[in-house]
Symmetry: C2
Subunit: 408 residues, 2 copies
């Protein structure tokens, strides 16, 4: 199940960024499970990773390679992704396997091992099937091309039901600049990243400082504002690459703002695509907090509502059981909440005020909103002027099925 | 579904504590949904309530009545409980309804309104059906008797599949003192209480100061150490009564410690009964944290593991997917966690150490533990000497069914 049509939009190639997708046999034989991405010489790269204390071997290796002291001389040139196995909870062996994978691709590509960044997603705690992975590298490497986005979008999936991509072309000083990205979900999704991988590339010319700043901004409006089940993974990684092969060298504030905005839009579209394809999702729900005194309290309430199993099962049942929303707001742990002042809407229907059901509310009006596949829960805390938005799904039988049968 | 046989144990009457159960028609016609409890004159009472900011009308009224300035002269004499409707999210009308219920029972019993404490559990946000409730009061009142525990245990249920009770008799200075209690769950269960009501009574003679202290101690070892779905409710209430009609007047430290321990044991048995009958539960899982540096971090990790949907679905599937346990530990937000030192066991089977699968671990050994209906996840953080235990269940199809169809 998934919400909306989910068709991959047109994926504009990014000059200087090539992709190749192969079948290594790590997942089911014949299924795409290996993706190589090649960054043209001179590319800049920025990345954010999971904050889970048990971060996977590839995350540790990728961080080390990015932080390599010789990075100025030997910047990252290849991204190596496998699915079907997360290489997490694999101890020392896992680290050796991740490094060995990088070394093997480096030998084929003729670069240093530290110029390869590894990424893995899939089952935790099983050793990485090295023979299968390494065996598929040469043939896959040979197919690198700038039109490989759609295949790669399939190659990085695990329990996702469909590929996820977003692409924009913008005009900067009369020249076309492209931003294209792909991502995968679909459970273990929560702030501070999730079981997700995302790769966004642009051919814009910009500094690495700008790029990391643009990535941080975009993440806090997109990937760090979604939740499926409140769990966060050991492997989350988001990479933003700028190849610098199109458009002018960017330094003008206005131009950078335009690029910033386009990167943010691509990231929001990708993050929302993860939620729409959340495990067992039948609803796409926007939780909008307004009137908060701080970002922190807005997010506390928004996530408590978005992650509440009782709210999520009511959403699955299309049941306007707004009492559960009040319950979740009330347990979010915001001090001195004045429940008399709080208002709650389903889309434009005011459902609760003065600590109870709104006088104007009718079950029919609430039901009409709840019957929709996409809806907004809007909550006014009436304590200030800060607002925040997060996106989530319902909790369905299929979520249980997918996660109970994951390894069977 | 529920774990274990769940038969109600022998429920010893408590001298001076009478119970009556009726059918008011608030739930399905003919189902017990009204319980009155009567405290003999001179009884002491202690209570704890939900910390949800949206606390229900009966909770507000009960707190007000307990805090009444005339309480020394006119202490609580009756507890009035209805199920089928939580009288929560009902605003001003809800408060008036709760007060009106108390006034009606007070008139029948010949006491002051402030001597009645009201309790409600059931659906949130619907007005309390006053006519049905008030109509059933007189006939129910007439049946008050000291042997009413088993009926009352049924009368307070909502989505619970079975009544829950615990009873102990202890010897104090050669005299028998009884402690008996009942409780109801079954979802919205988490620390700081939950959608739960619990009533424990003893005929011991003790001061009200001692009683509140004994209750606070017991709660932190029982009701505040369980979780079903991480949600907490608007109505949780736990009451401890001492009628003072058996045994000597207690002041000896040893005697008080014996009583303390018995109260704690009754509360633990009741709290565990809630978990065993958790919504959709097929497993009873003990999460035991050892080697923590503080209570706070032990509970943080224990609850993150216990509430993780991915851990819970693996438990439902009897899948020893220990990677998900590591993931949950890692995202619990404990600073400077040294994952190298952490060890995890399923019962006595060491499953993870040094950041990965234990060398001695076999899938077969893990599977044998996972196949059990009751099991322990033991986690050693290797940071200190604090330990804490919480109890939880798995996450099953039935949890979704129960909560998606709750109002249909």
């Amino acid at each position: 199940m998934a919400v909306g049509s989910g068709e991959l939009p047109p994926m504009f190639p990014v000059k200087g960024f090539r992709l190749a997708t192969g079948c290594a046999g790590i997942k089911v034989a014949g299924r795409k499970d290996l993706v190589i991405m090649a960054l043209a010489e001179g590319s800049e790269i920025a990345a954010v990773f999971t904050r889970n204390a048990f971060c996977a071997a590839p995350v540790q290796v990728a961080k080390a390679h990015l932080g390599n002291t010789s990075i100025a001389d030997r910047p990252s040139r290849y991204l190596l992704t496998n699915t079907g196995n997360a290489n997490a909870g694999t101890g020392e062996q896992g680290l050796r396997d991740a490094q060995h994978s990088c070394a093997s691709l480096a030998a084929i590509a003729g670069v240093e091992t530290s110029q390869i960044l590894p990424f893995s997603t899939g089952v935790i705690g099983e050793p990485l099937p090295m023979e299968a992975l390494l065996g598929a590298l040469p043939a896959t490497f040979d197919t690198l091309n700038e039109d490989g986005w759609a295949d790669a979008a399939e190659g990085i999936l695990t329990t996702d039901t469909r590929p996820k991509g977003a692409s924009r072309q913008i005009d900067i000083q009369g020249e076309v600049v492209t931003i294209t990205g792909i991502t995968k979900g679909a459970g273990m999704i929560r702030p501070d990243m999730a079981t997700m991988l995302a790769y966004v590339a642009t051919d814009a010319q910009c500094s690495s400082e700008y790029l990391q700043q643009a990535l941080n901004n975009a993440v806090n409006k997109s990937f760090n504002r979604i939740t499926i089940d409140g769990d966060t993974s050991t492997n989350d990684s988001l990479v933003l690459v700028a190849t610098g092969q199109s458009g002018p060298a960017l330094s003008d504030e206005c131009d950078l703002a335009v690029l910033n905005d386009a990167i943010e839009q691509v990231c929001i579209e990708l993050a929302q695509a993860i939620v729409r394809d959340g495990e067992g999702a039948t609803k796409f729900v926007t939780v909008e907090l307004i009137g908060g005194a701080s970002v922190e309290e807005c997010l506390k309430v928004a996530y408590t509502v978005a992650d509440s199993p009782l709210v999520k099962t009511a959403l699955f049942a299309s049941d306007p059981n707004w009492g559960r929303i009040l319950m979740a707001i009330g347990r979010a742990g915001v001090a001195d909440l004045d429940v008399e002042k709080i208002k709650v809407w389903l889309d434009d229907v005011l459902i609760a005020e003065h600590g109870g059901r709104a006088a104007t509310y009718t079950e029919q009006a609430g039901q009409q909103v709840m019957d929709k596949e996409e809806l907004t829960i809007r909550i006014d805390l009436a304590r200030g002027s800060v607002s925040e938005t997060v996106w989530t799904t319902d909790l369905s039988y299929d979520y249980i099925r997918i996660n109970a049968e994951y390894r069977t």
